[in-house]
């Protein structure tokens, strides 16, 4: 029998439909794989009992003839999604032991469509990071190794989700993306990651980092898998005022493989100083693949790109500083208090002990940029620049259907690298942040390997709510690149 963990989501779906195997068998195979790869630390909480329960129920549902679109497919859920009765930590000490009494809309949609949860995937604390080294529950290790064989980061913040999919510990995983947290780890782990348009998936029940940027999306082995999974995650939700009241199209149907006559934009501003040669080459190769597939490649300009990272690191921490105020030790999570302490003492001790260094850094940055006398210089200016960045894209999309860029400026780096230099760490998001600020859909598709044998991804950015084009072009890129490399031990 084939190794069920090596199937794609689409293959497993079709195999289940044909009766080649059951959800219980699929789920058991993945639970075994989770045991085998526990050293990667991809999960904070594994939920094998719940998984088996869900798998059994799913097989019963299928027997009844009422199978959903994701029926019986075992997935990992980033531990930023609140899951009813299952510890939800956001990778923070401050939420250790917190078991929500509610299910996030996205996971609720997925489970409603039959998906099976294997566990809660590790991430950077409160999704703040690009390396998954800020989790209170330990670093996630990238299943890929460079030639030296040292442990590499999986990217972040959805590092556990990416590693779980890359190491076949889940058929797919949910991620969330605020400035690149789906796309960058997808690139580092050689998988597909799709950040939908802001408003496509409900944020209800997702622990908030930066409300105007956070967006849930699928992390999968293939573009088709991303299309299938997004269809089960998305949809208008009256409980999220920023969720878009528009219908969810059949994303899988968009994968026609035909991009003839489509216009693909290449933004010159993304060719940043010091861009590694191999990234540059990867990008050029991608351009050639799309051209060969019949697309017209057009140079576009996004002049405010250079301000995007600075803008992001004002807007996101500002919102985070306010969003994280609720973790005060009062109603849930960790409380640190000594006898005779005042309310302020309790706040300070609980938050100092509960939040890690990166989270504290961003709370302080955010508090600073919103404070009296600095608001106009920082936050207000950032909002204006953000508007310009959106207008840049609007202008470009007047000429093209999608934009092609690298996903990240490098391949995965070693754990511990960049730790002492937050700004260098932040630079990992340089290509993903502009689309986040503009609320646009973006997908990362693995298209090549670095000299060190590590996966590299290209990013496609689309018009608002035009995930279909992003997926269609992504599918073509995927086929042309024929990226079949796997991490050691996962070869087909």
């Amino acid at each position: 029998m084939t190794d069920l963990t090596k199937l794609t989501l689409a293959e497993a779906r079709d195999g289940l439909a044909k009766g080649d195997y059951t959800s219980v068998e699929l789920t058991e195979a993945h639970l075994k794989s989770m045991d085998a790869h526990r050293n990667l630390n991809a999960y904070i909480t594994e939920t094998p009992e719940k998984a088996m329960e869900m798998a059994k129920a799913s097989d019963a549902k299928r027997a009844n003839g009422s199978a959903g679109k994701m029926e019986g497919l075992p997935i990992a859920v980033k531990d930023l999604f609140c899951t009813e009765g299952v510890q939800t930590t956001a990778a923070s000490h401050i939420l250790e032991g917190f078991k929500p009494e509610y299910e996030s809309t996205v996971t609720s949609n997925l489970f409603g469509n039959g998906a099976v949860m294997l566990g809660k995937a590790n991430l950077d604390e409160f999704a703040m990071g690009s390396s998954n080294t800020s989790s209170y529950y330990g670093n996630v290790i990238n299943p890929w190794k460079d030639k030296s064989g040292k442990d590499l980061v999986p990217g972040g913040s959805s590092g556990g989700s990416a590693a779980a999919v890359a190491a076949n510990m889940a058929l797919a995983a949910t991620g969330t993306d605020t400035g690149g947290s789906i796309r960058q780890p997808a690139s580092y782990c050689g998988i597909v990651g799709l950040k939908p348009t802001y408003g496509r998936c409900s944020r209800w029940g997702i622990v908030a980092f930066a409300s105007s940027l956070d967006q849930a999306g699928p992390m999968t082995k293939t573009v088709r898998d991303a299309a299938i999974m997004l269809g089960s995650m998305a949809g208008h939700d009256a409980k999220d005022s920023t969720s878009a009241p528009i219908a969810v199209p059949d994303f899988e149907a968009a994968l026609t493989g035909d991009i003839r006559g489509m216009k693909i934009g290449i933004p010159k501003e993304y060719r940043v100083d010091g861009m590694p040669e191999e990234i540059s080459k990867l990008w050029d190769n991608g351009v050639a693949m799309l051209r060969d597939a019949g697309a017209e490649v057009v140079d576009v300009t996004l002049p405010h790109t250079k301000y995007a990272l600075g803008t992001y690191y004002i807007v996101a921490p500002a919102e985070a500083s306010s969003n994280l105020a609720r973790y005060d030790g009062l109603r849930y999570g960790q409380r640190v208090m000594d006898d005779g302490d005042s309310l302020d003492d309790m706040y300070m001790k609980s938050r100092a002990a509960g939040f890690g260094k990166e989270v504290q850094r961003r709370i302080m940055i955010g508090t600073y940029v919103l404070s009296a006398g600095y608001y106009d210089a920082y936050y207000n200016k950032a909002l204006k620049v953000r508007r310009r960045i959106y207008q840049d894209f609007e202008g470009a999309f007047g000429q093209v259907d999608a934009i092609l860029t690298p996903t990240a400026p490098s391949a995965a780096f070693a754990i511990g690298e960049n730790e002492g230099d937050p700004v260098k760490m932040y630079l990992n998001d340089v290509f993903t942040v502009p689309a986040s600020l503009a609320g646009l859909p973006g997908i990362s598709v693995p298209t090549g390997l670095s000299a060190e044998g590590l996966p590299l991804g290209l990013q496609l950015i689309g018009k608002p709510f035009d995930e279909e084009t992003v997926l269609r072009v992504g599918g073509v890129l995927e086929s042309a690149a024929n990226f079949t490399a796997k991490p050691a031990g996962q070869e087909g």
């Binding site: 029940g205 622990v207 409300s211 919102e319």
Partner: protein, 484 residues
Amino acid sequence: MSYILEGSTGPWEIVVGLEVHCQVISKSKLFSGASTKFGNEPNSNVSLVDAAMPGMLPVVNAECVRQAVKTGLGLKAKINKESVFARKNYFYADLPQGYQISQFDKPIVGEGTIILDMPDGSTKSVGIERLHLEQDAGKSMHDQDPKYSHIDLNRSGVALMEIVSMPDIRSPEEAGAYLTKLRAIVRYLGTCDGNMNEGSMRCDANVSVRRPGEGFGTRCEIKNVNSIRFVMQAIEIEAKRQIEVIEGGGEIQQETRLYDQRLGETRSMRSKEMAHDYRYFPDPDLLPLVFDDAFISEIEKELPELPDEKKARFMRENGLSAYDAGVLVAEKEKADYYEVVAKGRDGKLAANWVITNLFGALNKAEVGISDSPVTAENLGKLIDLISDDTISGRIAKDVFEIMIETGGDPEKIVEEKGLKQITDTGAIETAIDEVIAANPDKVEEIRAGKDKMLGWFVGQVMKSTGGKANPGMVNKLLRDKILG
């Protein structure tokens, strides 16, 4: 007449602006589906959003928005077609989110006006700067446990309208009239119940003093005063404190103060240096509120007749004085009561009965109009009994006393007690004849020109008829008999 405080160095004028928090009448909270019902068990009206659980998001309650727009229209204010919710960030135990969702630079309602009805019948207009929607905080209870404070989140997230006046108020009396009028308007509109003692209307007063005609002085804000009377007291006491400080060579520090009604003083709560930096910014969880003209005009159509219009109508249609009309419209229930009494009757007579007799009796008994033992229908009937000469005005007062006591129907009371006016000429003549026969000397005095004695005769006849004789007839017949 302007209100002036005399200091040791000369006259001072006071300048007051009021910020009033009105709890919006709505079934559920501003951003959650939890109930707003007052008096439920602590922490029973709390949704996941109100408790700020991770990942919870606010969704604005359209009813609260409509109520705010309605109030804005009632204040003759500009409705802003686009407004924005902003977060006001601060830490406190009864603020689960760590921020209050409020409105900052783009409130739902802009400038408007309130007309004050002063006790002397004059009016004064006070500007409204803005009205914005915001969440209420929970309640901290410090008296439940020796070591810990307890928190009740029932109120957390309930919608408030903060209504900010211009610094147009110049006396404690005007402040009282402002609050009374604002309360009347929101009650007429049904957007706030205006109960200050239950906390559904709360007032902060910004007070400063200046030499008449000069520029504004430095103000102090007196927080959370919970009755109109206390607001008036606090303003006067604070103004006097400020005058004393200035005249003593000191300077007023801008700060937040508390009014202690027991000690009759204000004291410092938070200096300007200690003031919070609220780090307001637009709430990214909520879209801007955007209205079209149709939405506003639809609400406009629902507006009831408001106190000012009602007052004008009472003066115009019923010939009431500004003062009487002002008293009647001060509370919607009073105006409604009066309208029932006045319907199809002499409006002025009805106003006299309602204001002088009914309100007098209710005040004495410390009973509100809605608990009046005398129904408007019955008071109307009583007036009818006077108008059709069934009883005299004097007997009517007795009947009214009984009505206040028993809540009875005046027709029945008159019937049962045999209080019907005697209009039978023969019966009255008999009574007159008896009094004349018994007092020949007094008859002579009248005939000798001492007209005033006639009144004495009227009194005697009324007395002998138990007050039931028609006084007009008694007068006329007496004149005819003695002088005729």
